[in-house]
């Protein structure tokens, strides 16, 4: 990242510490989106699995949202509440800390993934335990906590069914809500038969039987667990109350049975008042699992004597969130409640699946959040991984204007490249060509219409082997948009006329590929 004097975009004074550090955690992929997407598009099983799952959940969500007469008022309240939270974040963080401490908990602060991991490792070591049970948490995946624990000789056991499938399959999550959405029942059965010690060899691929196999596999571990690790969906500053929303009861196990509970939470998860939960507990379950209410929501405030863990910790994590907060347009990404509705409606996600995004945050939210957490240079292709069709904005329960942030980040990327006086490399040229198509309203509108048509054509059968236009330029020649009337190089020369071309350095090293390889 670079400082731009008088430019439209402000950057943190100390970018090296304000964005999420390289070499730790899972916010950057090994390959850029277009390459990963191309590979994913050749996997027809993957596309079938994802198409089926997202189609199912879209229908469920639509049904339960239609039941709620005041849905738009709830969305507006959710948006306003999160905006107010961001504006008051310093005082709310201090208030949350005070309340948690007053209730017998301990609060830790972490500038980044490295610090957060070290805090958790130290806390687990202090208990003498070499195993922790974990309830699914995006924040701990983001920081690569399991790897950090493993390095310290501590086994982290994922207990969410989908996370267990991912962990046993030595795989990575591909969806926020259903991390194993890319696996069908036959594949899950295979993984269980191969990886679960003592599993019934007669196991069928019936979902009920698979779920029971997971219950048996985890039961003893829950009952003997001494340390639980969780994230938090919400933290109430006014009361110090933390909350986890879940379905299976594995969350309750992790939050209730161990002696020690360690919760890792991004600083943006705060809501100001207890009452604000009445909004989010309506918005979240209907948007995520398409249920009126999820089976279990746990709320705890510090230590409850005689009930649950008596050693309770909260780790407050920055890891690029303050860098995101500094961008007046981009900061709305911090309002995300991780419902995953935007993934399920996204024509790009539906074709590529989550892995292509290279980050624990895939889909439309990932396309705006990951580049801001890491700095755009490290996830430069993601803001282009969208057809800007707007479906994500329509379903977002907190009204994050994802297309607006995407366009903004594209522009910011170009600004930053200009300021650093480098010409784009080959990959960025192809991305910028896509951006060029979208920069022209008329051309963009045509592409958008084509994208919608393409979505209808796909119809969940997963036969389409390319991204919707104009991203198809990345993936398939037959779907190329009409050739622009001006070549990209001409456009670059025209719009960058003030640059001294002789000063340009074209760096071809891997560090310039827009992605960090780790």
């Amino acid at each position: 990242m670079v400082m731009i004097e008088g430019g439209p975009f402000r950057h943190d004074a100390d970018p090296n510490t304000a964005t999420a550090p390289r070499g730790v955690g899972h916010l950057r992929g090994d390959v850029a989106f277009p390459t990963a997407a191309r590979a994913a598009l050749t996997d027809s099983q993957l596309r079938r699995n994802i198409g089926k799952a997202t189609g199912t959940i879209r229908a469920k969500r639509a049904d339960v949202v239609a039941e709620v007469a005041d849905w738009e008022q709830l969305r507006e309240a959710g948006r306003a509440c999160k905006a107010a939270t961001m504006a008051r974040l310093p005082e709310l963080l201090v208030q949350l800390e005070e309340r948690v401490v007053a209730a017998g908990g301990t609060v830790h602060w972490a500038r980044d993934a490295v610090e957060a991991n070290a805090i958790v490792v130290d806390l687990v070591r202090a208990t003498g335990s070499d195993e922790v049970v974990k309830v699914k948490s995006m924040a701990t995946q983001e920081i690569g906590l399991n790897e950090a624990l493993a390095e310290a000789g501590i086994a982290a056991l994922e207990t969410d069914l989908a996370e267990l499938i991912v962990q046993l399959g030595d795989d990575t999550p591909s969806h926020i809500l259903v991390p194993a959405i890319h696996r069908n029942r036959a594949e899950i059965r295979e993984i269980f038969l191969r990886e679960m010690p003592g599993v019934d060899p007669e196991l069928t691929d019936e979902p009920r039987r698979l779920a029971m196999a997971a219950r048996t596999h985890l039961r003893r571990r829950f009952l003997s667990a001494r340390v639980g690790v969780s994230g938090a969906n919400f933290a109430v500053a006014e009361t110090g109350t933390l909350s986890v929303v879940e379905s299976e009861g594995n969350g309750r196990m992790c939050l209730t049975l161990p002696d020690t509970l360690i919760t890792v939470m991004g600083i943006e998860k705060i809501v100001p008042t207890w009452r604000d939960l009445e909004v989010f507990l309506q918005l979240l379950p209907r948007s995520s699992t398409g249920e009126r209410m999820n089976p279990y929501t746990s709320m705890w405030t510090g230590v409850h004597p005689g009930d649950g863990p008596q050693d309770v910790h909260l780790v407050l994590l920055d890891n690029g969130r303050t860098a995101t907060l500094a961008d007046e347009v981009g900061r709305q990404a911090l309002a995300c409640i991780r419902c995953s509705a935007c993934l399920n409606v996204c024509p790009v996600y539906e074709r590529t699946g989550g892995h292509a995004y290279g980050s624990v945050y895939p889909g439309p939210i990932g396309a705006i959040l990951s580049p801001q957490l890491t700095g755009i240079a490290d996830n430069a292709s993601l803001p282009f991984a969208s057809s800007l069709c707007g479906a994500c904005y329509d379903v977002c329960p907190v009204k994050i204007n994802i297309p607006e942030v995407l366009v903004h980040l594209r522009a910011r990327h170009v600004e930053e490249r200009r300021a650093s006086r480098t010409v784009p490399n080959a990959e960025e040229l192809s991305m910028a060509a896509v951006g060029w198509v979208m920069a022209e309203p008329r051309r963009y509108a045509a592409a958008q219409r084509a994208a919608r048509a393409g979505r209808m054509l796909a119809g969940g059968r997963g036969r389409i082997r390319s991204l919707p236009p104009p991203l198809s330029a990345w993936t398939a020649s037959r779907d190329l948009p009409a050739p622009p009337t001006e070549t990209f190089r001409d456009w670059w020369a025209r719009t960058h006329a003030d640059d001294d071309r002789s000063d340009h350095t074209s760096r071809a090293s891997s560090s310039d590929s827009g992605r960090h390889t780790s």
Partner: protein
């Protein structure tokens, strides 16, 4: 600088240039339902929503609550392929009204700090509730003495929950308003479930696989 001070300083710096305004949250959404707690239509809605998520519901009066609790226990444990003790072992929180259990032939075990393994050796649990929300089919436990600590309604495989009909409100905001955030709260909407395999909902994973709600009038 400590990590705490550093993070707080970064947050302040991030907000410094534009100083975003703190708008009011427009609470134009429904803050209460059309019907008062315990209204017959609300009870019907609550039962519909409970059964929609495969919980079982039955209605009774004070005179026959013990009979219904007993039937909920025996039906709840009568599941094919499930191991159970004979007589069944049922854990109860210390403050549960004793007359609720006068008709069951189960072994009633009051929770006096049972270990996790002792809880695991119980077939079921009977608790009261603090609030119920009709629209979402939710019951909330708050650790009061008739509900007990969280582990007892988690480890046993059957949960029988007695809800007084005057505890049933229509909407989520009414439910939130009745709760004390200082207590350990568990919101329960149907038995534990997962949709992680092809988004196919399967009831019963780690929490109680069976939930019976006994609605007590008056």
């Amino acid at each position: 600088m400590s990590a705490r001070d550093d993070v707080l300083a970064r947050v302040r710096r991030a907000l410094a240039t534009d100083e975003p305004s703190i708008g009011d949250v427009p609470r134009t959404y429904r803050q209460r339902g059309d019907r008062p707690p315990g209204d017959p239509a609300l009870i019907d809605l609550f039962v519909e929503r409970l059964t929609d998520y495969r919980a079982h519901a039955r209605r009774t009066t004070t005179d026959d609550v013990a009979g219904h609790v007993a039937r909920a226990i025996s039906e709840g444990l009568d599941q094919p392929g499930r191991d159970r003790h004979a007589p069944p072992r049922i854990v109860v929180p210390s403050g549960l009204p004793t007359n609720w259990l006068s008709a069951t032939d189960a072994d009633v075990i009051p929770d006096a700090g049972l270990t996790v393994d002792e809880l695991d050796a119980c077939d079921g649990v009977v608790t009261a509730a603090s609030v119920a929300i009709a629209e979402t089919g939710t019951i909330v436990l708050d650790g009061e003495s008739d509900q007990g600590r969280r582990a007892i309604s988690l480890v046993p495989d059957l949960h029988v929950c007695v809800v007084r009909t005057d505890q049933i409100v229509e909407t989520v905001p009414e439910g939130v308003a009745r709760l004390d955030p200082g207590r350990p709260l568990t919101w329960i909407s149907g038995p534990s479930a997962t949709s992680d395999i092809e988004l196919d909902r399967v009831e019963g994973v780690h929490g109680p696989r069976t939930l019976h709600v006994v609605l007590l009038d008056g």
